[in-house]
């Protein structure tokens, strides 16, 4: 005789929850999973009515489930959010092109507008051409730095108030471990926050911060969501891989380990007398940076001058002396749009929208541009 659901005592249990060890049925699982995400959103006041929210969509399991759940909750609880899919095309043949096909199908399945911004379009270099220039060793650095900024650029193009990403509890716990192992205090502080001011422009948050990966995968499985999974063609992130295996082993022994680590990360505080880097603007592109020139601009300069090690070398002062200005290179030089310009465009779009539309304001990034009354955070829904 099949085991019955421990919640409704009625239907066949199909899943054992890693968080609680409860055995539950499909319908109860949907209900608790969605409700927990809803509670995370409401308890942390992630959004305001009228917010334009971009879902960082890779076509992978986490972001596909996130898009589905965000759409469901927005309708069910009347959040009043305008949802968008925002995807980054790193330009990796055989990997990202396939997963972007999935995002394009998600766009139709969920009827959400989609914007794809590519490294090639923003920086003049696709990851394929970067790998051609730098080899397979350090290419993940380029990809990570460029992605972070690309999301902000895409968000400003859409004039978003907020970006949500599919990072789940397992990802957060892994990142906490990695930052502890590396002694990276600024990142340790940031990675535990559910919402950060992003890199200056758009708030980013992780509605799945407390959702276990197993449940996300099982949700996608039971709902038969259309997602894509494969390994990146280029070198896998080996360090994260070890942290992940370690975490999975801990979880096997003690399922609460993931939430425990998140809790530990949140509880850690940086002592007052530790000098934290001060954020300023990159003098070239206007992106937030703790240095005169941001990491993306440094990496691009290296690529363009044929010294791709620039910005990667261990010594912070990797010298440019004696380096020829013209070198063999695979990308092209593009005029990168300054962040002030992107910001200005976003403001203008916002103003135009508010002029054409009297009844809706306003997102949290509105800053009083449109004269309408702000309707406040999403609470008590």
């Amino acid at each position: 005789m099949p085991r019955l659901c421990e919640i409704c005592q009625n239907s066949k249990a199909v899943l054992r929850r890693p968080k609680t060890a409860q055995r539950i049925c499909k319908q109860c699982f949907y209900h608790v999973f969605e409700t927990e995400v809803h509670n995370t959103i409401v308890d942390n006041q992630l959004f305001r009515r009228g917010d334009r929210v971009g879902i960082g969509a890779s076509g992978g399991k986490d972001s596909t489930v996130l898009a589905y759940v965000m759409k469901t909750l927005n309708e069910r609880h009347n959040y009043g959010l305008d949802l968008y899919l925002l995807s980054i095309d790193e330009g990796i043949a055989g990997y990202r092109d396939d997963s972007l096909e999935t995002v394009k199908r998600n766009k139709e399945q969920y009827s959400l507008p989609l914007l794809i911004v590519s490294y090639e379009q923003l920086y003049g270099w696709s990851m394929d051409s970067i790998v051609e220039a730098v080899g397979r060793k350090n290419n993940c650095t380029f990809c990570g730095v460029f992605r972070r900024q690309a999301l902000d650029r895409g968000a400003l193009m859409l004039d978003l108030d907020h970006i949500v990403t599919g990072h789940n509890a397992d990802d957060v716990a892994e990142t906490i471990l990695m930052n502890i192992f590396r002694g990276d205090l600024p990142r340790l502080g940031r990675c535990t926050e559910i919402a950060t001011a992003g890199d200056g422009y758009i708030v980013r948050s992780k509605p799945f911060k407390y959702a276990y990966e197993k449940e996300i995968v099982m949700y996608a499985y039971f709902k038969k969501l259309d997602y894509f999974s494969t390994e990146c063609t280029y070198s896998p992130n080996a360090y994260r891989g070890y942290a992940r295996e370690f975490l999975k082993d801990l979880e096997a022994v003690r399922p609460s380990a993931i939430l425990d680590i998140i809790y530990s990360g949140e509880a850690m505080q940086v002592a007052q007398d530790v000098q934290m880097p001060v954020a300023a603007q990159c003098e070239r592109c206007g992106y937030i940076s703790s240095n005169r020139v941001c990491k993306a601009c440094t990496l691009l300069e290296g690529l363009e001058r044929g010294v791709p090690k620039l910005g990667i070398a261990r010594s912070a002062k990797a010298s440019l002396e004696g380096v020829p200005d013209v070198a063999k290179r695979g990308g092209r030089t593009v005029e990168r749009v300054h962040f002030d310009k992107l910001w200005e465009n976003a403001r203008r779009m916002r103003l135009e929208r508010s002029e054409n539309n009297t009844d809706v304001c306003t997102g949290s990034a509105c800053a009083g541009v449109c004269n309408a009354q702000n309707t406040g955070s999403l609470t008590n829904m």
Binding site: R3, K12, A13, V14, L15, R16, R23, S58, G60, K61, D62, S63, D98, S99, G166, D170, D171, E213, K214, V217, M218, Y221, Y227, F228, S229, T230, E231, C232, R244, E245, K248, D249, E251, A252
Partner: protein, 113 residues
Amino acid sequence: MEDLKLTLKFSSGAELMIKDEIRADAGTKTGDLELTRTLPATTDGKPTIAKDLLEFIRDNLIKDRQEDFYDKEKLRPGILVIINGSDWEVEDGPEYRLQNNDTVEFISTLHGG
């Protein structure tokens, strides 16, 4: 006793652990993989259980580093097992007694996000 005819499915990256020639035979170089395999109803004189299937898969289907899949009586953490549509942790996990025509799915949570 009758042999056990089993449907095995690998998805969400788990298929990447299977030998290339087996994937090619199944006609899928990319994406979900579905195989049919037959196991004896008993193993070492006892009814065949999920654990025996894991050993079979490790020894016959997995490409290089077989111990990464299943080692020391332990399935690699992060691989979910679904038997006939249910999380195997709901029932007996590795001790589950396999039945003829069972469908066993392996879903990786370790690959690409």
